[in-house]
Symmetry: C2
Amino acid sequence: MRINHLLSLAAFVVILPTSPVTAVANDPLPSWNDTAAKQSIVVFVERVTEEGSSDFVPVEERIATFDNDGTLWSEQPYYFQLAFALDRVKAMAPDHPEWKTKQPFKGVLEGDLDAVMAGGKKSLIEIVAATHAGMTADEFEQIVTDWISTAKHPKTGRLYKEMIYQPMLELLTYLRANGFKTFIVSGGGIAFMRPWTEATYGIPPEQVVGSSIKTRYEVRDGKPVIVRLPEVDFVDDKEGKPVGIHSHIGRRPILAAGNSDGDWQMLQYTTIGHSPSFALIVHHTDGEREWAYDRQSHIGQLDKALDDAKQKGWTVVDMKQDWKTIYPGE
Amino acid sequence: MRINHLLSLAAFVVILPTSPVTAVANDPLPSWNDTAAKQSIVVFVERVTEEGSSDFVPVEERIATFDNDGTLWSEQPYYFQLAFALDRVKAMAPDHPEWKTKQPFKGVLEGDLDAVMAGGKKSLIEIVAATHAGMTADEFEQIVTDWISTAKHPKTGRLYKEMIYQPMLELLTYLRANGFKTFIVSGGGIAFMRPWTEATYGIPPEQVVGSSIKTRYEVRDGKPVIVRLPEVDFVDDKEGKPVGIHSHIGRRPILAAGNSDGDWQMLQYTTIGHSPSFALIVHHTDGEREWAYDRQSHIGQLDKALDDAKQKGWTVVDMKQDWKTIYPGE
């Protein structure tokens, strides 16, 4: 009897420091280690959803906004939308013999990305115009759908759409289960994301905010279509993010998540002078399972926002420490 | 016994021709007369929601878009947002002594609307710039909220926000009960509508599409704000409506409702070449209970769209014939 008692006590002691069995079964964030980051999320969600609490937020105001590149899926060695654009240049090249000798297209076709990048912003705009405009919205949607269903990342061999973060999927689901409406607010193209965000993240097209090119309504061959024009309309990055949120959502989020200085203003807008509110930064610290980068990175530079995190009480997620899993099914 | 029997039979016969008691109790559109318009709505909703039917539409694609002025609320003798702007000019006049001698403000202050209108579009833009820009988004929201809570229509004496159509409120509720997501797509100002559409129509800010002025993100006295600029950004009217739908919703509606040629392109975009789909036109035929106008009207001109309705099978709602009630609580 005494031995049994001791054994069960020992079992109790062993189980307790991690988490009780019932809590594991109900854990809404199983891919998160039980560290401060996870705890701060759960504490916030419980605070704003507990009726009668002074921090209670009505369901309709539970707006959560998420950056995409580097926050919901990977973004190295360069934004996946650029991979899409480069693939499109290659696919379209047979109809454009002149591209063989004309930068930035020549560089793309020869796999010389340095030559492409040497042209700077102007080159990128030329590539976007050639690959993202000139067709109808329905046609572009089909092109993106075909690409996202098949294109694979050269390093991981995974489909790009499988390089999404399992812990963030759980966070999205957890928030929605608690009455939050989840939005993407990304510097990426709104029309590039919408065809697949619902199946991938459970975020429908009307809850996606992103950069856009101009469009025009036309009746073509008797059919009403939206035509995509080679002209930038809106850049949903940096100070553009609060503007995009205001334009598309019309409410200030109470939770925002990002991973770079491009998200800094969104995190400010969400939290400063507004309580309860919550800002989360995904810090890429895992060079083994994903990538490790921050202050000096060309893609996803995280510098000012990292400095601000400490002062402002923003939650920094250390991928290596805080996440059990990176990608689904690992 | 025989008399009782006859009486109950008579009661049955009397009740039957209108509608059986159970149907009345469950009628989702009680303010609609039992005419072809109502029937066509119910038939469409049943078609697209019946699982296994060839016209079944998954819940996430049940997008319904509604014009606001003249479709969800009245718009005579001029758009209610103009009444708001004129009231604002009067409220702001003490800080603008120069307006006493300067058109179009002079005309507003003297109640001389002809003088205002003589300046055409330029005058209207000047009034919008003076009354809708120069403050933060939060400040503008408060100004609109104060106005909409108190301002009354000079003819009816009702609050403007009570001049909404009871049958359309029922239609919105009926659609949502059947899995539709309801949006406003209006030529009116997006920021003018959002502060009150949720309480009034059950349509949250993020489901409101409208015309907009440019905005800028700023940190002012340490607080992040959206500043409203005196420059038109987007006009959500005519061919702008499909563009606004594409930008904000990113899906083609399967049901659209309007009342004027400003809605023509939205109705085309929704229905032509896309089935199942449904277009509804509110035809203002009731000069007694509301207003009667169509082809020659300056406000809410309905001409091309009325011609198209017959050819294209769009449902025209004759307010006088089809609606039992116009405004709530009548």
